[in-house]
């Protein structure tokens, strides 16, 4: 079954299934003299969010205290869930002489307060600019603490903030998580997660990008209903939308587990909802390159055509038939299209958002006869 390689059949711009009514004028990515009300935030936010979807992980951002706090505030405000992100809390002295010691202290203190299984170490503008190498500092830390039984796994994330937005951070952090926790890094200073798979069902990797916890729960259900075992990264389904607690949980339950990272090595295929993120930033591409795992890279599945692609691929991989439940849901959606098409026909629409969300929504708008007149993203991918 592993022979289905769809990677070559997926052109990056396949989103818009049929030609738009009026051809869109594509403006070259350029820069206004000033950025006004940007709908993007910075790369470390994506990095931090990605590791909120990894089980028992804590993020340490190497930089000023404000970076961690602002990202926390932003995520807390949006998700209405606690989000703890540690900082190496630069001072003026760290900015001048380097912040390695601060980062090591931060790791020590995170281990005391949170006892995490994984510590992801991200960087910020300030640390990048003064040339801090978080990979090297982490390697030093591991060496200095060799033999300690409770030493967590580390994922260093030396991703320059100036190169992308939050969405690039999210994808690149997922790739790094796969590299460190599923495959083991090439300069292997720590072994990847090695745990037997509890569930015998064949795993499929899902890299959904930035979607809601409810979307993730739906995706898991869908993959299960296709007869496969979903491994979602990041899995925000519980960590960013959980119940009340009976006691304090320093790290909320849920997230992609070590056994799931291990299972990715045996994945039948992977699905990544992004056609815009560069190959070098893609977790699916990494698994494809290293282990030859087939992949489907597609925009966010919004609407019939894009969802058909997703479900069709999953069913091809599993050899199963579509379940009654999903067939009926598809039937009802087409019925709703028919009922509503006259209200929607010809309406002119502007869409703004992350690149792959815009592509996904555009495909849907096109399906129902709406006219996309402006599509904008704050993204920097081409």
């Amino acid at each position: 079954m592993k022979t289905t390689d769809t990677s070559n059949n997926v052109p990056a711009n396949e989103t818009v299934a049929t030609a738009p009514v009026r051809p869109l004028k594509i403006s070259k990515p350029g820069r206004a003299p000033v950025t006004h009300n940007a709908c993007t935030v910075c790369l470390p936010l994506g990095v931090s969010l990605a590791f909120r979807g990894v089980e028992n992980a804590v993020v340490v951002l190497h930089g000023s205290q404000g970076c961690a706090t602002y990202i926390r505030r932003y995520l807390i405000s949006h998700f209405k869930e606690p989000v703890d992100i540690a900082s190496s809390s630069f001072t003026e002295a760290s900015a001048v002489f380097g912040g390695a010691q601060n980062l090591k202290t931060a790791i020590d203190n995170v281990r005391i307060s949170y006892t995490p299984a994984i510590i992801a170490v991200g960087t910020t503008c300030l640390a990048d600019t003064i040339g801090e190498d978080v990979s090297m500092i982490v390697r030093e830390y591991i060496k200095e603490h060799e033999g300690e039984g409770d030493l967590p796994l580390f994922v260093p994330l030396p991703i320059p903030n100036s190169r992308g937005t939050h969405i690039d951070g999210l994808h690149q952090a997922c790739r790094a998580a796969v590299e460190y926790l599923s495959l083991g890094p090439e300069d292997s200073f720590q072994a990847p997660a090695e745990l037997p798979l509890a569930d015998a069902t064949t795993p499929v990797g899902i890299f959904p990008g930035l979607v809601s916890p409810a979307d993730i729960r739906y995706l898991k259900e869908l993959v299960q209903d296709c007869g496969l075992r979903p491994v979602v990264l990041p899995d925000l389904s519980e960590t960013m939308e959980g119940g009340l607690w009976d006691q304090y949980e320093p790290i909320p339950k849920g997230g992609t587990a070590p056994a799931e990272f291990a299972a990715l090595r045996d994945a039948l295929g992977t699905v990544e909802f992004s056609t815009t993120v560069h190959k070098d930033s893609s977790a699916a591409e990494l698994l494809h390159e290293r282990l030859g795992i087939p992949l489907l890279r597609a925009p966010l599945p919004v609407g019939i055509s894009a969802t058909d692609r997703l479900i069709g691929t999953l069913l091809d991989w599993s050899g199963n038939e579509i379940s009654q439940k999903h067939q009926q849901e598809r039937d009802r959606l087409i019925d709703a299209y028919a009922d509503g098409h006259k209200y929607l026909s010809g309406l002119r629409v502007a869409v703004f958002g992350e690149e792959d969300l815009v592509l996904g929504l555009s495909g849907f708008l096109n399906e129902v006869g709406m006219e996309l007149v402006i599509a904008g993203t704050g993204g920097r991918t081409s």
Partner: protein
């Protein structure tokens, strides 16, 4: 590395329980790395203080994140222009980090000044600007000279201290405007209101009290702020400073430079707002003003007190935790909570100084925990230990309280409910009541468990 109960050794001195030995609390320190401090940075301090100046453009010179995270996040209202609610950023990227961001800043300023014709432009320096060495001052001078619009650099590089240093930088920025306006028609019975940010229209309520006392308010810094008012604020007879952490340095400088004395006040709670009005009246030693203050307090209390009684009855004996930015707000909150019959079991702040904490310690009951620059792990532990009924804090503390089944009152920059003044006290009591006495907490697992209770109904098998 030593482990004990998840408490970081370096933090031990910043936690004190009243009655446990002699009072001592370490404070005014840089945050402990890895402690997940609730503090932000220097930039944040400057940004929150200057944000409500409505007719200036606020340009964040730095990466897009710093601007996006501070875009329209305060409840500071405007009676006119709303330029302050925009997020303008030079959005520095690799190219500028290598070659310098000065040309981009200059272009941004010229563009914004041409487009919006603002009364002033504040330029906030962020971490990387401090590191790549852009000369923000030189660009500001050049653009000011060419356009006639004052461009004011704010030295708010994130790593240069704490939020408090950001307040100081913001005050210094305001000082470049103060003293440049015409003061000829200002009444001798006049004040500036400092450290009031017009959240949910609070500055308007307070201005109204002063107006009723016959006092002219020359400027509010910075709630519903106007550049021209700030320019002539040196013509006021008195500075009345709330939120002392952010604006005392400005009041001191204005005393030094213009001989304007200042008073520290708070507008939160009946006691404090009444005291504020009386103190200002006493300063002017004018019988009409004194009678005016008495009349305002009498009228407002007559209106307020009957409306408070039902809340007080319901809230009597409940306990609260307070964790806020500045300690000054904590003093008022302790008193306001007592007004509605509640006691305080935990109190802390991000940026209090040793005098603040001494005063806090005197105000608190034995057994109360006092914390400086705390974090989620500590705060949650105390919420459970003290089994509080209410938490008063900001956005970052809210989900922590809710997860543990504890009521919450938002008392930070982002709130949409006026909590200052007499009307604010009514709102505060109502807000606390609505949360503390909400029926939703009956289902909270910490008190009720997680399982579905057995129904008690059994299907009888036929005999």
């Amino acid at each position: 590395m030593s482990k004990s109960d998840g408490v970081i050794a370096a933090r031990a001195g910043q936690i004190y329980t009243k009655g446990n030995g002699e009072f001592a609390l370490a404070c005014e320190k840089a945050s402990t790395a890895g402690a997940v401090s609730q503090r932000a940075c220097v930039f944040c301090g400057s940004r929150v203080v200057l944000y409500p100046v409505t007719d200036a453009v606020h340009v964040v010179h730095g990466p897009v994140g710093c601007a996006a995270f501070t875009w329209d996040i305060r409840g500071a209202m405007s009676s006119g222009l709303e330029l302050h609610r925009n997020s303008f950023s030079t959005d520095l990227r690799e190219n500028e980090i290598i070659h310098g961001g000065e040309p981009r800043l200059e272009e941004a300023l010229r563009h914004l000044i041409a487009k919006f014709n603002p009364k002033a432009a504040f330029v906030y320096a962020t971490c990387i600007v401090g590191v790549i060495g852009d000369d923000v001052g030189a660009i500001a001078k050049k653009v000011t000279r060419d356009t006639g619009v004052p461009v004011i650099p704010v030295h708010s590089e994130g790593f240069r201290g704490t939020k408090k240093d950001g307040y100081r930088a913001a005050c210094e920025a305001l000082e470049t405007l103060i003293g440049t306006g015409d003061t000829s028609d200002i009444s001798p019975l006049s004040i500036n209101i400092l450290g009031e940010f017009n959240l949910a229209g609070e500055a308007w309520m307070i201005q109204d009290y002063y107006r009723r006392m016959g006092i002219e308010v020359v400027s509010v810094m910075t709630g519903d702020g106007r550049v021209d008012d700030i320019r002539r604020s040196h013509g006021a007879a008195l500075n009345v400073v709330q939120c002392s952490g952010s604006m005392t340095s400005l009041a001191k400088d204005m005393e030094r430079d213009y001989g304007i004395p200042f008073l520290r006040v708070s507008y939160f709670g009946i006691e404090d707002v009444s005291q504020a009005l009386y103190d200002v009246a006493d300063f002017f030693a004018n019988e009409d003003v004194k009678r005016g203050a008495e009349k305002v307090v009498r009228e407002e209390l007559l209106e307020l007190m009957p409306r408070m009684a039902p809340y007080r009855e319901k809230l009597q004996g409940k306990s609260a935790a307070i964790y806020v930015g500045g300690a000054f707000k904590a003093f008022s909150l302790i008193k306001a909570l007592r007004t509605i019959g509640m006691r305080v079991a935990l109190v802390g702040s991000q940026t209090g100084n040793s005098e603040d904490y001494k005063l806090l310690e005197q105000m608190c009951d034995p057994g109360t925990v006092i914390v400086d620059d705390s974090n989620p792990v500590e705060l949650s532990r105390f919420i459970i230990e003290k089994d509080v009924d209410l938490f008063i804090g900001g956005v970052k503390e809210r989900p922590m309280a809710y997860k543990l089944g504890v009521a919450f009152c938002d008392h930070n920059h982002e709130r949409k409910i006026a909590l200052a003044g007499f009307e604010g006290m009514k709102n505060f009591a109502e807000e606390v009541y609505r949360s503390v006495c909400s029926p939703v907490w009956q289902f909270a697992p910490r008190r009720a468990g997680r399982g579905i209770p057995a129904s008690g109904l059994h299907i009888q098998a036929e005999a």
